[in-house]
């Protein structure tokens, strides 16, 4: 069995860590653990953010406490847009470079982005019910967001239905590029769409003048927090993909060795 030696080697490289140590969050094997640090920072930010939203931000004069969901809803929506921008950029990079890391970044960003935008839609509906007395209105902004959601769900579907990983990557890249171009077109085209325009509170075309100073600070802090959360989750998802790829690599070499051994007279 010539293959045995080389098979065992990669297995031993993945050290199984039985004990969790807090110091591992900062440094592992003498190197800074970037992901761990970011997790710590994000965790602290989120706690502070909760305090800011519920204790610091003033209660809205008209809408009352329900308005506080705004500090989740708006950052989630904006940060998911950042995630889709990352999908777009990573997809272009993948098309030109054909390096797996770009595809992993695109895939991870799309997955997290879909989670975020789903939460943004849900929080939006929860907010809309008491304010507009309806879960949903077909306003341009909501419609745009729903289209965005559909496009990136389609992105995930196209990947999972593709016949091979390399095809999944390139189909995903295609959708990542077209989808984003489409979003830009949609964003501007809905500005001309006749219908109810709810006063845009944030976003590139927004008017933030109506916001109280403290409210705006809390909102900005919340955005920062969710941006950190997004970055952390994407890194974690990519690390997971790395592990999956390693595992695949091991299985790959095992299969290869098995088939090689089966040949007589080699």
């Amino acid at each position: 069995m010539a293959g045995t030696e080389e098979i065992q080697q990669p297995t031993s490289e993945i050290a199984f860590q039985s004990k969790f140590r807090w110091s591992d969050m900062i440094r592992v094997d003498g190197r800074i653990n970037l992901r761990g640090c970011l997790l710590l920072v994000t965790g602290i930010l989120m706690l502070v953010n909760l305090y800011m939203i519920f204790m610091v931000a003033p209660t809205d004069a008209v809408l009352g406490h329900v308005q506080r969901i705004f500090y989740f809803h708006v950052p989630l929506a904006i940060v998911s847009f950042v995630a889709f921008l990352a999908v777009f950029i990573a997809s272009i990079a993948y098309v030109f470079r054909r390096e797996t890391k770009w595809d992993n970044l695109a895939h991870a960003s799309a997955e997290i982005g879909v989670v975020f935008i789903t939460l943004a839609l849900v929080t939006g509906m929860i907010w809309a019910k008491p304010v507009w007395n309806a879960w949903w209105l077909w306003t341009p902004r909501l419609t745009t967001t729903l289209i965005l959601w559909l496009i990136y769900v389609a992105y995930l579907m196209i990947r999972s239905y593709a016949p091979s990983p390399s095809k999944a990557a390139i189909y995903g890249a295609a959708m990542g590029i077209i989808g984003f171009a489409d979003v830009v077109v949609v964003y501007f085209s809905v500005q001309w769409w006749p219908g109810i325009h709810p006063t845009p509170v944030v976003g590139p075309l927004a008017d933030t003048g109506s916001l109280d100073g403290t409210m705006r600070s809390v909102l900005l802090f919340s955005m920062l927090t969710f941006l950190a959360l997004l970055t952390y989750l994407i890194m974690e998802r990519m690390a997971l993909q790395d592990t999956v790829d390693q595992l695949r690599g091991i299985r790959f070499s095992l299969r290869r060795a098995a088939r090689q051994d089966a040949i007589p007279g080699d």
């Binding site: 098309v95 239905y161 095809k167 077209i178 809905v190």
Partner: protein, 224 residues
């Protein structure tokens, strides 16, 4: 002849020839379009006033769904006996394949729409003789066929191809659909809100943008 245009013509002629022989696509799309209109009339229980309100919507839902069917058919037909492999094996540029297939879909859909439009006009009681309307139909159909050709080339390679194509196609095509509906409203003399004049240029801009992006991505996707 030009090395770029010649293969497009060859592909187009092949699709036309197949269609002349089988007649399955155009005829079934016509019937399908009529069915959509009838179903909508029942579903909306349309009164004459409502009909004028929803006519553009019905028109474009019928065209869009017929379009998806046409796109799907165009590539399934290629896939059946490996024609797509045959195409990819031939030494013509991938751009030519894209434009050849897109042109075929464009022409078939225009043909179907040209027949359906007077019928719809009669059923829904509007006048089809409007330059804006015809230009809208041409521009929107161009967008449909460009985006649809790319996505059917992708979806035909996957499992559950019939489901995947509309799932990919509709979200991306929505700006065209919105533009087409609004522009049609204007053409049929419905709303006269300021700013509706944007829609035709928007359709044109969309077509140009997606023509560039889709044909670039197509060559990458089919070479993989």
């Amino acid at each position: 002849m030009n090395e770029f245009l010649r293969p497009i013509g060859v592909l187009l002629w092949k699709d036309i020839l197949i269609e002349l022989r089988s007649r399955d696509l155009v005829v079934s799309l016509l019937v399908f379009g009529l069915v959509v209109v009838v179903v909508f009339n029942f579903a909306l229980n349309a009164t004459p006033e409502l009909v004028t309100e929803v006519t553009p919507g019905i028109l474009w839902v019928a065209f869009a769904f017929a379009g998806v069917l046409a796109m799907n058919r165009a590539f399934v037909r290629e896939k059946e006996e490996g024609g797509l492999d045959g195409l990819l094996l031939s030494p013509i540029s991938r751009d030519s394949i894209f434009f050849g297939k897109a042109a075929a879909s464009f022409i078939f859909m225009l043909l179907v729409e040209a027949v359906l439009l007077p019928i719809f006009a009669g059923l829904l009681n509007f006048s089809p003789a409007s330059f804006t309307l015809i230009l809208t139909i041409v521009l929107a159909t161009l967008g449909f066929s460009v985006v649809g050709t790319l996505f059917s080339a992708i979806s035909v390679q996957t499992r559950s191809r019939e489901i995947l194509l509309p799932v990919l196609f509709f979200p991306v095509i929505l700006p065209v659909l919105v533009g087409a509906v609004e522009s049609t409203k204007q053409a049929l003399g419905g709303d006269t809100v300021v700013g509706l004049g944007h829609w035709l240029p928007l359709l044109g801009a969309f077509d140009a943008l997606f023509l560039v992006i889709c044909h670039w991505i197509f060559s990458i996707v089919v070479e993989e």
